[in-house]
Symmetry: C2
C-alpha cells in the first residue's frame, strides 16, 4: 500500500516510469520545480501544489480567503527558491455542490490578493464537483534567466548553510490552532497562527540572492529544515553539519514550545511549512549576503552550519557537545 | 450554493475576481487553454483537467492504466484544438493511504504510454494523501507558432461548421458501462466502451487543420457538440444552424441508443466527452479540408451546418422540418 512505502518511495517508483525526456527539459521530475527551455531568453519554471481538506487544512480553522492566499504563497515560495519570477497560475478546484458561492469567491479574492503584488495573473484552470472534501490544486508558471537559476543540487563542500527568518514559527502556529487553550496570554498568538495559515514567501529575497551570484544552492523550507537540507545534500551528493546553538529559534517559538511541553529544536528542524529559504554560499560571502538581505528586504538570515563531503549525512551538533545524525527525508504526506 | 449557480455561473464570478492581467497573457481565464507570450518564437499553451473519482470515473469500471491514458488524452485534446504541440505535463495526485502501489504504477504507465507518442514528458507534480476519493489533476503545457494558433472566438458568419469522427460514441460507451446487460450481442461493445474510457485526441488532425490556414475557429468536443458549438458562438458573437440529418451518427451509436430506448440525436448533441474537433471554415474550403484530413490521417469529417449572424442562437433543423433552439452551455459538473 502507498502508506507503507510513503511519499518519497512512491516518488521514486513514479520517476522510474516517467523517465522519458522530451525536448527542452532542463530539470524534470523529482525537483519541486520543473525547468523548461522554451527557446526564449528565459527558462520557464513550472510547479504545482495541491491542498486537500483534512490533510493540508481544516475548514473550521482557515478562512477561504486565507486558504486562497496560502495556496498561491506556497507555490510562489517554490519559484522564489529557484531565483525566478512567478507569472501565471492555473487553478483546479474540486468542490461539493453544497459549497457556498461566497466561500469560493472569498478563496479567489485571497488568491488574487496574494497573486497580484507578486506579478501573477490567474489565467485558467478548471472546476469540478466532488462528494465531500474541498481540493485546490494550483500550478504556477514563472521565468528565470538561465544565469540566475539556482538549483538544490549544486552545493559544494565547505559552503556555509544559511536560512532566512525564524523556522519553527509555522509549527508553533499549528500547535496554537490545534490547542486553542494553549498559552492564552501570549502576545505572539495571532502572529504565529497567521504565519502558519498565510505564510509569506521570500520572493524578493530569492531574487536578490540569485542576482548576487554568490549562492551555490537553494531550496524553500516546506518539509522541515532538516528534511529540506537533506534534499540539498542528497541531490548535491554532499553532507551537512548544523550547530543547534546557532539555529534562529525565535522567543515566540520557545515560549509556545515551553507551554506545549514540546522541544523547540524539534519544531525548528522538522516542523515544516515555514517557507523560509535555505541556501548555501561560499563562507566568505556570508556577511555580505546577510547585510544585503537586511538592507534591501529587512529580512534576517542566519548561518547555521556547513556543507561537508560526507554524502547524505546530516549531523546536528547539540549544545551539550553530543551529536545526532539524521537521514530524515522530511514531511511525508502518507505517514502522518 | 455552488450547485444552484452551476459551473458556468461560478466561472463568471471567478473571472470577475481574477481579472487582473499580468504581462504576456494573450488569452487568459475563460478559455480551455491559456495562451502565454514567453518572448520566444512560439506561444506557450497551458491547460489543466482534474479527474475526480465518483464524478469523472468510477474505480470499478476503469483500470488505473486506462485512467492514466484518459487524463493525458483529454488534456492533449485541448492543446490539439488550438493547433498546438503538447510538450510537458505536471501531475497532481491525491490518494488514500490504502491505495495499492501497483494501482499508482499502472496509472503512471498509462500516462506515459499516452504521453510519449505525443511528444510529452512528465516533468513534475505532487503527491498527497486524501481520505477517500482518488484525484488526478494534470496540467499540460504546449507550444504553438503565433500564426498557427486557432481560437474559438474567431468564427465568421456563413462559415461552414465541421466535426471530425462520430460524436455520440463516447455517450454510447458510457451507457454500456452503466448497463452491462445492454445489447449483449453487439459487436461494437468493446470499441464504444474503450472510446469512452480512453478517448483518442485528434492531435495530428488539429495540427494539420492549423497548418492549412483555412480554419477560422476550433474547439474540442468535451461538453457535448451543441454545448461546445455554443461556446464558439458565444465567444465569436455569432449563432449557428445545424442540420440534424447531416450529423454523423454512426451505426454503432444508433444500435445502442435503440437498445437503450434513448434518442441517438440527443447523445450526439449533448453526450460530451467525445474529444472530436469541432471547427469552422470558409464553405469553399470544405472539400479540400475533408480530403486532406482523410488522406493524411484517415479521419473523416462532416459538414453539419453553418455559422449565422444571430448572436448566441444555436438552431437545430430536424428531419421533419421543425427546428429547435438551444442555448445549452453543455455539461455542467455541478448539475448532474
Amino acid at each position: 500500500m502507498v502508506r507503507e512505502i510513503g511519499e518519497f518511495g512512491l516518488l521514486e517508483r513514479i520517476s522510474a516510469i516517467s523517465s522519458g525526456q522530451a525536448a527542452g527539459v532542463v530539470k524534470g521530475i523529482g525537483d519541486d520545480v520543473a525547468v523548461l527551455d522554451v527557446s526564449g531568453p528565459e527558462y520557464l519554471l513550472a510547479t504545482s501544489d495541491i491542498q486537500v481538506e483534512g490533510v493540508h487544512f481544516i475548514r473550521e480553522t482557515i478562512t477561504p480567503y486565507q486558504l486562497g492566499r496560502r495556496v498561491v504563497a506556497i507555490n510562489v515560495s517554490d519559484i522564489a527558491a529557484m531565483g525566478g519570477e512567478p507569472r501565471w497560475a492555473l487553478v483546479s478546484l474540486a468542490l461539493p455542490g453544497s459549497t457556498e458561492v461566497g466561500y469560493v469567491e472569498e478563496m479567489y479574492r485571497g488568491m488574487s490578493e496574494q497573486a497580484a503584488p507578486a506579478g501573477i495573473s490567474i489565467v485558467g484552470g478548471n472546476l469540478s464537483r466532488i462528494s465531500s472534501t474541498v481540493i485546490v490544486d494550483l500550478t504556477l508558471l514563472g521565468v528565470v534567466a538561465p544565469e540566475r537559476l539556482i538549483l538544490r543540487s549544486t552545493a559544494r563542500a565547505e559552503d556555509a548553510i544559511l536560512v532566512t527568518g525564524s523556522p519553527g514559527e509555522s509549527r508553533a502556529g499549528l500547535e496554537l490552532i490545534r490547542r486553542p487553550d494553549l498559552a492564552p496570554g501570549s502576545s505572539s498568538r495571532q502572529k504565529l497562527i497567521e504565519r502558519h495559515l498565510c505564510p509569506q514567501p521570500r520572493l524578493a529575497e530569492g531574487q536578490l540572492l540569485a542576482r548576487s551570484g554568490k549562492v551555490t544552492s537553494m531550496i524553500d523550507v516546506s518539509d522541515g529544515l532538516a528534511g529540506d537540507l537533506f534534499h540539498i545534500c542528497e541531490s548535491s551528493g554532499k553532507g551537512a553539519e548544523i550547530e543547534a546553538a546557532s539555529l534562529p529559534i525565535s522567543p515566540a517559538v520557545s515560549e509556545i514550545a515551553r507551554a506545549a511541553d514540546a522541544d523547540s529544536l524539534q519544531w525548528v528542524l522538522s516542523g515544516g511549512e515555514d517557507y523560509e529559504l535555505l541556501f548555501t554560499a561560499d563562507p566568505k560571502s556570508v556577511s555580505h549576503l546577510r547585510k544585503m538581505l537586511m538592507d534591501e528586504t529587512g529580512t534576517s538570515c542566519t548561518q547555521i552550519g556547513k556543507i561537508t563531503a560526507e554524502t547524505c549525512r546530516v549531523k546536528i551538533r547539540l549544545a551539550d557537545g553530543k551529536s545526532i545524525h539524521t537521514s530524515v527525508k522530511g514531511w511525508d504526506h502518507f505517514n502522518v
